[in-house]
């Protein structure tokens, strides 16, 4: 993880402040991550093989929806359409990952291995997308937008406990190496996306 990307993005925000463009970029990144995880959670929460952990996923689904709602409400969305256009190629890889695995032909296609991959993707989204270090310290601690970002990141740390537990305990038929490999693949995907996002944010 190149720390310089964080530093450059923070320096930009330090110079410009949390403008509508900057807020829109950040919110597009976070709400995309939350939407993808929520879509997976919504699709699998009532599957019989999930077992007693279903409760955890059910709770996380609503928590993710709450985060999306919170961020959508506090964001000062830009009216510049270019920002939304520019976001597409950056965020497309993680949307594509979701579509490949879970969108068609639907829930019935989600087998235990697919379920595991969804958990791994959720883990990567919750652990690798960390915005708080990009917020300059000069931003007012009570700024509603910065406050929402901090709260969401703190919630991520709590929610990820479900993924950590389930990634260790489910899919016992899969070899540890295979499980490791799937997790690593998702982490690389999210890392790449997030690094591109930071570069984009630095251009605000």
């Amino acid at each position: 993880m190149p720390l310089e990307l964080y530093d450059v993005a923070r320096d930009t925000l330090r110079r410009t402040g949390l403008t509508p463009v900057a807020q829109s970029k950040i919110s597009l990144m976070i709400t995309t991550a939350k939407n993808i995880n929520a879509l997976f959670l919504g699709a699998v929460e009532f599957l019989p093989f999930v077992g007693p952990e279903q409760q955890l996923l059910h709770a996380q689904y609503f928590q993710e929806m709450e985060s999306i709602l919170l961020l959508s409400k506090v964001t000062r969305w830009t009216q510049d359409p270019r920002v939304y256009m520019e976001s597409m190629p950056i965020l497309a890889p993680i949307w594509k990952e979701w579509r490949l695995r879970y969108s068609m032909p639907g829930v019935s296609a989600i087998d235990p291995k697919g379920f595991y991959q969804g958990l791994a993707l959720g883990h990567a989204l919750l652990s690798k997308i960390r915005i708080v270090p990009v917020i300059p310290p000069e931003i007012d601690l009570a700024d509603p937008y910065a406050l929402a970002l901090r709260r969401i990141e703190q919630d991520n740390g709590r929610m990820i406990q479900s993924q950590i537990t389930l990634l260790r305990t489910t899919a016992p038929s899969m070899l540890e190496e295979e499980r490791d490999s799937l997790i690593e693949e998702k982490q690389e995907l999210v890392n790449d996306t997030f690094n591109k996002f930071l570069q984009w944010l630095a251009k605000s």
Binding site: M1, L3, Y6, A120, H123, S127, K128, R130, V132, P133, P137, E153, Q154, G157, R158, I160, Q161, I164, L167, R168, E176, E177, R179, D180, S181, I183, E184, Q187
Partner: protein, 395 residues
């Protein structure tokens, strides 16, 4: 920093110093990265050593497995790293969690470890440490990594140090947050929660071992190091004065000096692993690097030694509730101070009494410029004739 692939894991490491030199290896503590050893690495390599630092699995820029890490994985990883770098033997230093790893390596692969420096570490978990571990675990799973950082800082370093770095602290914390993935730190913590004590296996460590413990380390207190001292055969315990848990960070120069002196001593075949307890100098440049500890090194206060006879004026006598008032007892004149029989070191900077006639006596051999002992020369006032503190009688 370069990295190396070991199996599926990427290991970030830094190696400084020419090939063929004696190799000293440093292992990080829980939330550290190998960049925190830079001063030590530079200092020791200037003195002719080759110094290896690396991020353990789950830390810094090395791989961060999601499915968990076993304690043996850490020991095996270091062995493979040494193999990959063609290092046959090393002097192994580890702090805190890294100290646990270092001891495991020394037990599992004794032929690879020439000497060992476990610092601020433990081989079993006393109740307090166990409860702290649980608290940290709750903090990271329920409140996030910044809380762990905030809780650990005052345990790691002194208020003085915090004051010195106050302006740069938020940025250091931010970088610590970025370097560390909370889930990976959680994994490392879980290996603490499921910690298997290994004090009974410490006798497998045969190499010269210098155990270092900060005077005020209340994260891994003296008792943890006492277990190591008692069970590691060729060991000595050295207390670093004024230091807290992360003394390597606060006193890098002194740490380098101690480690270099120890390694040199081992290489010269002069090491005496006699399980004695020493106190390091407060001055990293002092000719006397350390002195033998006197008194009970397990205590945090000075306890009168049998040969230290005190006068009544040194005692605060208070009658027990309901008992007769304490009458003045026969006054014994305080003894004239005598020079200590052997060089002594004390674990606090100065000991002062409240008596104005106190006289400082410089010991013939001092551990450092500010290590002094003050001994009462003569009581100025006669002891009180009536009870020092008369309490009203009951009834």
């Amino acid at each position: 920093m370069p990295y190396i692939k070991i199996g599926r894991s990427r290991v970030n490491y830094g190696l400084m110093g020419e090939e063929g030199r004696e190799v000293i290896v440093f292992i990080n503590g829980l939330t550290q990265t190998n960049t925190l050893w830079t001063t030590h690495q530079e200092g020791l390599s200037r003195q002719g050593y080759r110094v290896l630092t690396y991020d353990t699995l789950g830390q810094g820029q090395s791989s961060k497995p999601v499915l968990g890490i076993r304690m043996d994985d850490h020991a095996d990883l270091l062995l493979k790293l040494l193999d990959a770098l063609e290092i046959k033997q090393c002097h192994l230093c580890g702090i805190s969690f890294g100290g646990v790893v270092a001891m495991h390596v020394a037990m599992k692969y004794p032929e690879r470890v020439k000497s060992l420096v476990p610092m601020s570490t433990f081989a079993e978990m006393p109740g307090q440490l166990e409860q702290l571990g649980r608290g940290f675990y709750m903090a990271i799973t329920q409140a996030g990594f910044p809380l762990i950082q905030t809780l650990l800082l005052p345990m790691n370093v002194s208020s003085n140090w915090i004051e010195q770095v106050r302006n740069t602290l938020p940025e250091s914390m931010r970088r610590g947050y970025l370097y560390n993935d909370p889930y990976a730190i959680q994994n490392l913590m879980e290996s603490y929660v499921n910690f298997q004590p290994f004090a009974q296996d410490l006798n497998k460590i045969r190499c010269p071992t210098l155990i270092l413990n900060g005077e005020f380390d209340y994260l891994t207190p003296r008792i943890c190091h006492e277990t190591l001292r008692q069970n590691i055969q060729s060991s000595r315990l050295m207390i670093v004065p004024h230091a807290f848990h992360a003394f390597t960070l606060e006193y890098p120069e002194l740490t380098v000096r101690i480690i270099e002196a120890f390694v040199r001593n081992v290489l010269a075949g002069q090491w005496q692993g006699d399980k004695t307890v020493w106190v390091a100098s407060e001055d990293a440049h002092s000719e006397v690097l350390a002195t033998r500890s006197v008194g009970d090194h397990m205590r945090a206060v000075f306890v009168r030694l049998p040969e230290e006879d005190l006068s009544v004026a040194d005692e605060w006598r208070v009658s027990l509730p309901g008992a007769e008032p304490v009458e003045a007892v026969q006054v014994k004149p305080a003894r004239k101070p005598t020079a200590p029989k052997k060089p002594v070191a004390v674990a606090v900077k100065e000991v002062t009494t409240t008596k104005p006639a106190a006289k400082k006596i410089e010991k013939p051999v001092s551990a450092g410029k500010s290590i002094k002992k003050t001994v009462a020369e003569k009581p100025v006032k006669a002891p009180p004739k009536k009870p020092v503190n008369k309490l009203p009688r009951k009834g």
